[in-house]
Amino acid sequence: MTDIRTVGVAGAGTMGAGIAIVAARAGFATRVYDTRQAALDNARAQTEGFLRKSVERGKLKAEQFERAMANWQGTTRLEDLADCDIVIEAVFEDLGVKHGLFAQLDKICASQTIFASNTSTISITEIAGGSGRVDRFVGMHFCLPAQLMKLVEMSPGLNTSDETWRRAWAFCEALGQQPVRTQDTPGFILNYFLIPYNNDAIRLVEQGVAEPAEIDKAIKTALGYPMGPLELLDLVGMDTQRLLCDAMYGLTHELRASCPPLVKRMIAAGHLGKKTGRGFHRYGDSKMFGA
């Protein structure tokens, strides 16, 4: 059982919009905060569109749709997060921006309010350090698209209290998500393994071991993975892969995490992946994944 009733989501971009859908759908009063009204409008429209589709597909009842939409409140005023029991942060991946936000929230929110960060590459302990409440801070790393993916990697910072951990975990389960516990180390579990593995696949192409289509086919057939590594990279985008590599390599200095030169050439050539119609594979239409 969770004692949390009201959820704040800070940052209404790609991840924040999805996390807010999860919270509102699970029945929590959800306050969505962004500095840009356009981001809020976009997130609201996305929420409505997604939940309507869920009703059409029989995954959500009409009255659940109404309730979820009523639960979802957008705002550009940080003060509106004052009554939140937990605030999940999904703003830009920048320690200074995150510290600035949490320092303000610390003054606005009640002392028992839990702060959580959806960061992919910054240490939870480091973000907590600038939050004013190091013991009431956890990592909650959702997967893209959050409204479809059940996995949440949860990590305690070095100072997270047992009480905070227990409350945050129960809340995550109440969201209808599947939390897993991981250490506060770079990439947590998923990105720590996935980024170098994807790089290794790129290096196989660079070294002429096999064509991308043959590599994808081999991996899917041999291991039953739903997607080959190069197909997956085409969805992630070479631009994003490069950012992820640079962040991970910068933290771990593990060679497999370093960005393969081919990625940089593909970015220069405009072969970013599915979104530009060409990455390791060619695509007839450039509709985004999940669209």
């Binding site: 996995l151 991981t182 064509e211 590599i215 739903p226």
Partner: protein, 217 residues
């Protein structure tokens, strides 16, 4: 239709039991498939290689060049290597990795591919590098998973659950390695470590232990 005859040369990791691929062979097939651990030696003893539509040599962890040769006077344009991907004690998968050399003719590759595909196998073509595609790609990944589990990144269940939920894997890598044998992982990754010289292939601690225990009997 690609016809082939089969020469058995010892136990085979690719075809340990009856399989349509073995049934579909004919005594006068145009291609020659050398099946078994000693396939490479059997290739050396083969007469009239040049007349075959293709010659396919079953491989272990070694490169095709070990058997087929690479020197200018050894090159044959109709010889390929193959192996059905298989993890340790698991049954062979449907994947056949088909290895070609730079001078292998397209027609030979196509004929070998057609022969395997006719038996409902899936063929991925690759060039002649250690580990081919799948071992080359997954062994460093498996070593990293074993190492980070040792380092208490998360429990085995949570690591597997994360990778299954996040990436749609049918089974997590730790459970998979336990099931198919850590000592078998050692053998493959150690061979690749020696041939590639890349530390990412160096067997993880748990694989070393499993190997040492297997050796001790």
């Amino acid at each position: 239709m690609s016809t082939y005859r089969i020469r058995r040369a010892g136990e085979s990791r690719s075809f340990p039991v009856a399989h349509p691929f073995l049934d579909l062979a004919t005594t006068d097939g145009a291609g020659i498939v050398l099946v078994g651990k000693e396939a490479g030696a059997a290739y050396g003893a083969l007469m009239a290689v040049d007349d075959a539509a293709f010659v396919a040599i079953e491989l272990g962890v070694e490169c095709l060049g070990v058997h087929a040769g690479e020197a200018a006077d050894e090159r044959r344009n109709n010889v390929v290597g193959f192996a059905r991907f298989r993890l340790g004690s698991a049954e062979p998968s449907r994947l056949v990795e088909l290895v070609r050399q730079p001078w292998t003719r397209e027609e030979a590759v196509a004929a070998a591919r057609a022969a395997f595909e006719a038996a409902d196998l899936v063929v991925a073509v690759c060039n002649d590098f250690p580990g081919r595609i799948v071992d080359r790609l997954v062994r460093p990944y498996y070593n990293a998973v074993l190492r980070r589990h040792d380092e208490k990144l998360a429990s085995a269940e949570e690591i597997d659950k994360t990778l299954c939920l996040g990436l749609g894997y049918p089974e997590g890598p730790l459970a998979l390695l336990e099931r198919t044998g850590l000592a078998a992982h050692y053998e493959v990754t150690q061979a690749l470590y020696l041939s590639l010289g890349d530390a990412a292939y160096a067997p993880a601690r748990r694989a070393q232990i499993a190997h040492q225990r297997a050796m001790a009997g």
